[in-house]
């Protein structure tokens, strides 16, 4: 039961990373590469009918976390209070940037919302990377200082940063050199992913330039990946334990590697879908690789006094889970159906689709 709901949660988050990831990435591409008005419009058009539904994966995963692992939901959401609130504000800015841009036809109006959309996409990618870094590194559960817990053993509170940016300090912050490393990886990978989406869904004049960009950025990505993997066991010494015990789990890192390798070939693919599939495979693989390493821990404790939060000590009671299973299975079938309908109707390149500036 624990493993099942953990897989459901990770699965939904992984889908979220892949789906909302491409529209965050499209936002970053929009910010840095789109100079002409028609390219800007094409990029927003390519995610127009999709981004809202993509975001629902986050909301639904949040709901599922609340339902299946209420203690983790309570502890993590209150402990990461400030970064979560900032994520909310960024999500609001991003959404209104996308929705309101077309309402008034004036270059200054467009300029404001273009920046709001682009900058918030970039910062959200960074924040989600930081979040993953925090979950891998762990937090000071119970707020232990000098051997005394200042809160209940399952709660914590994290400021945005501490003065040393050291992931091994007793007083931790959300931002340190390790979490920042993952934040940068998130920005790079979503930029690549978003560029692949733009290439796939539009005939913008940027496409050739974006392919070159993906190719170059991929080297940087590999570099940062190596850096993060080699520092992982400093921050989280037990991280490779699951892989030693269950070699079958290597299927996840394998997906990651195949994905990255596939990205190097972006310039030679005849079909543009291959580029997008590569970055999809990389993101999905990267996220599940981390999750497979962590299980059964959901949020590690950085002190020796209080136990980590795991699937076992945070999961809700059996009856609720078993009725939940019934509606979840019905729900997920419907969701897949909606996505098929949606992507069938808006299939292919979006240039000619006139869903218009209302």
């Amino acid at each position: 039961m624990e493993l099942f709901w953990y897989s459901v949660l990770i699965g939904m988050l992984a889908v979220y990373v892949v789906f909302d990831g491409y529209d965050f990435g499209a936002g970053i591409v929009h910010l840095f590469f789109a100079k002409k008005e028609e390219d800007k419009q094409l990029i927003t058009k390519s995610i127009g009918p999709f981004w809202d539904a993509n975001e629902v994966w986050l909301i639904a995963a949040g709901g599922l976390l609340f339902f299946a692992f209420p203690l983790l939901y309570a502890s993590a959401f209150s402990g990461f209070y400030l970064p979560l609130m900032m994520i909310l504000w960024l999500l609001i800015f991003r959404a209104i940037g996308l929705e309101l841009r077309g309402q008034i036809h004036h270059s200054m109006w467009h300029a404001i919302w273009d920046k709001a959309f682009g900058v918030s996409s970039l910062l959200l990618a960074l924040f989600f990377g930081l979040a993953l870094g925090n979950v891998v590194r762990g937090v000071n559960l119970g707020g232990v200082e000098n051997g005394v817990s200042s809160y209940e053993a399952t709660y914590f509170f994290l400021p945005l940063w501490n003065s040393s940016l050291d992931p091994l300090a007793e007083r931790l912050g959300v931002i340190d050199w390790f979490t920042l490393l993952l934040g940068i990886i998130a920005v790079i990978s979503l930029t690549i992913h978003g560029a692949n989406w733009v290439i796939l869904k539009t005939n913008s004049t940027l496409n050739e330039q974006l392919k070159k960009m993906i190719f170059r950025l991929n080297f940087l990505l590999v570099l940062f990946l190596i850096a993060s993997v080699s520092t992982l066991d400093i921050v989280q010494p037990t991280i490779f334990k699951n892989y030693k015990e269950y070699p079958v789990l290597f299927v996840f890192p394998l997906m990651t590697i195949v994905g990255v390798a596939g990205l190097f070939a972006v310039k030679i693919y005849k079909k543009e879908i291959w580029g997008f599939l590569s970055s999809t495979l990389f993101l999905f693989g990267g996220f599940t690789t981390t999750a497979a390493a962590m299980y059964p821990v959901l949020l590690p404790s950085t002190n020796s006094m209080n136990d980590s939060l795991t699937v076992y000590n945070t999961i809700t009671e059996g009856y609720g889970l078993s009725v939940g299973l019934n509606w979840f299975l019905i729900g997920i079938v419907l969701v897949v159906l909606y996505f098929i309908v949606q992507h069938r109707v808006f299939r292919g390149k979006m240039d000619a689709v006139d869903y218009g500036e209302h």
Partner: protein, 443 residues
């Protein structure tokens, strides 16, 4: 500690109040748009399709505002009310997770198709996508009301030794006697808001002699939907809710009605008066004897318990706030029925468009259904205090243990600033759409 609770409550109150300005129009308006689209399919009269298109534009902006202000609501259960989430997650997490799976995906997947897909889909499928968006938004309301109903009147649970609420009966969550009356009342009230908005813009076009063909249609439609929904809000749904409060939350009922002391031989209904908390009575009271007993128990002499019968620590935290919210809601609801009945009568006689003062009244009535909806929710929520889970878990026990008041005030101020911006943008953009009016396009 006191400060912290205050800011947590202020932030939730502020963000939910602002949020609910939008879904109440979304839910009601989606039904009216589906109606216009359906009339077009039946009559092939393009005015109906153009009307549907016009309202879809306003709907789109309104829906976005509802979505972006809705996400913080789900987050805040965890960020600010962590103890509540931890202890009741087994029950409350159930309904909230179902809302995500069953209504958010439905709404968001088909909204794009509904807004942008008319040409790609053809009119019949386009109607279907509109219907699915309507269904999604009304289901969302259902799950939220189910969650709230459980907090107002907990059912189907068991409390473990460690204080955790554990779900024991899933079906009871949805057959909760609190749920159906509250849901119908809420949905009818959201239709009241939408009807008033539609009628008001109709009145604006008729009075300003622009887009008069649309103006007349909006007036007619707004008034018909308006009269039906204002009546349903009062009876049977309002009546059923009041009886539920009297039955399950007698202390809140006494505070709502302004009854400080149990009266012999039947309770009066208070129409006007100001709660005087020091002397525990109403100042400047204007009341009608025995009517409250009759309305509540169909017996002119039935006893209605006054606040004096309850321990002070179990009184609603803000008795005057609760009393005023309830009286504003009921007072406005009564005026709405009067205005809509008059407008309906004039419309039936064919002289509504010529009766200018009624058109002006409809034009400026728009803020009031919003106020009535919000004060209605204040009545429910202030009535639930001092409890998070009625009679079982106090509000103070639900707040996050590690979030300091300084941090909550910081984010509260952030939300106030951000939402001021959103509100301004909403008014500008909807104002612009209304001003430019519906267009008859040939496509």
């Amino acid at each position: 500690m006191e400060d912290m609770l205050f800011y947590d409550r202020m932030q939730f109150a502020f963000t939910i109040t602002f949020h609910y300005l939008f879904p109440q129009l979304t839910m009601g308006l989606s039904l009216i748009i589906v109606y216009f689209k359906w009339k077009f399919l039946r009559s092939k009269n393009l005015v109906y399709n153009d009307s549907a298109k016009f309202w879809m534009k306003i709907f789109a902006i309104n829906f976005s505002m509802g979505v972006v202000t809705g996400i913080p609501m789900e987050f805040q259960f965890g960020t600010n009310w962590a103890k509540f989430s931890e202890l009741t997650g087994s029950v409350v997490g159930q309904t909230l997770a179902m809302e995500g799976m069953f209504s958010f995906f439905l709404e968001s997947s088909f909204l794009g198709l509904f807004l942008f897909g008319e040409k790609l889909l053809g009119h019949k499928l386009h109607f279907l996508t509109g219907f699915l968006v309507f269904l999604g938004s009304w289901m969302s309301g259902w799950f939220i009301l189910a969650t709230n109903a459980w907090m107002q009147h907990p059912v189907g649970y068991e409390i473990l030794e460690n204080g955790k609420f554990v779900l024991t009966n899933f079906t009871e969550l949805f057959t909760n006697p609190w749920l159906l009356p509250a849901y119908l009342h809420n949905q009818a009230a959201s239709l009241v808001t939408a009807s008033f908005v539609v009628a008001s813009i109709g009145a604006f076009y008729v009075l300003s002699e622009k887009h008069e063909k649309f103006g007349k249609l909006f007036l007619r439609t707004g008034v018909v939907f308006g009269l039906i929904s204002t009546l349903i809000v009062a009876f049977p749904t309002g009546d059923m809710n009041a009886k539920n409060v009297a039955k399950y939350q007698p202390a809140s009922f006494a505070a709502m009605e302004g009854i400080f002391h149990t009266e012999e031989g039947g309770a009066e209904i208070v129409l006007i008066g100001q709660p005087n908390m020091k002397e525990e009575r109403l100042d400047n009271k204007f009341a009608v004897p025995n009517v409250l007993s009759f309305l509540t128990y169909q017996d002119w002499n039935a006893e209605v318990k006054g606040l004096n019968e309850f321990d002070k620590k179990d009184w609603p935290t803000n008795v005057p706030g609760l009393y005023y919210s309830y009286h504003i809601m009921v007072g406005l609801g009564t005026l709405f029925i009067g205005l809509m009945a008059l407008a309906m009568f004039l419309s039936w006689r064919g002289i509504l468009v010529k009766t200018k003062w009624v058109l002006w009244a409809l034009l400026f009535a728009v803020p009031f259904p919003y106020i009535a909806n919000i004060t209605g929710w204040y009545t429910a929520e202030l009535g639930r205090q001092p409890w998070l889970v009625y009679d079982l878990m106090r509000t103070a026990a639900g707040a996050s243990p590690t979030v300091s008041s300084g941090n909550t005030l910081f984010t509260l101020l952030g939300f106030i600033g951000l939402y001021l911006l959103l509100g301004l943008l909403f008014l500008i953009l909807v104002g612009k759409l209304v001003y430019s009016g519906p267009k008859t396009l040939k496509d």
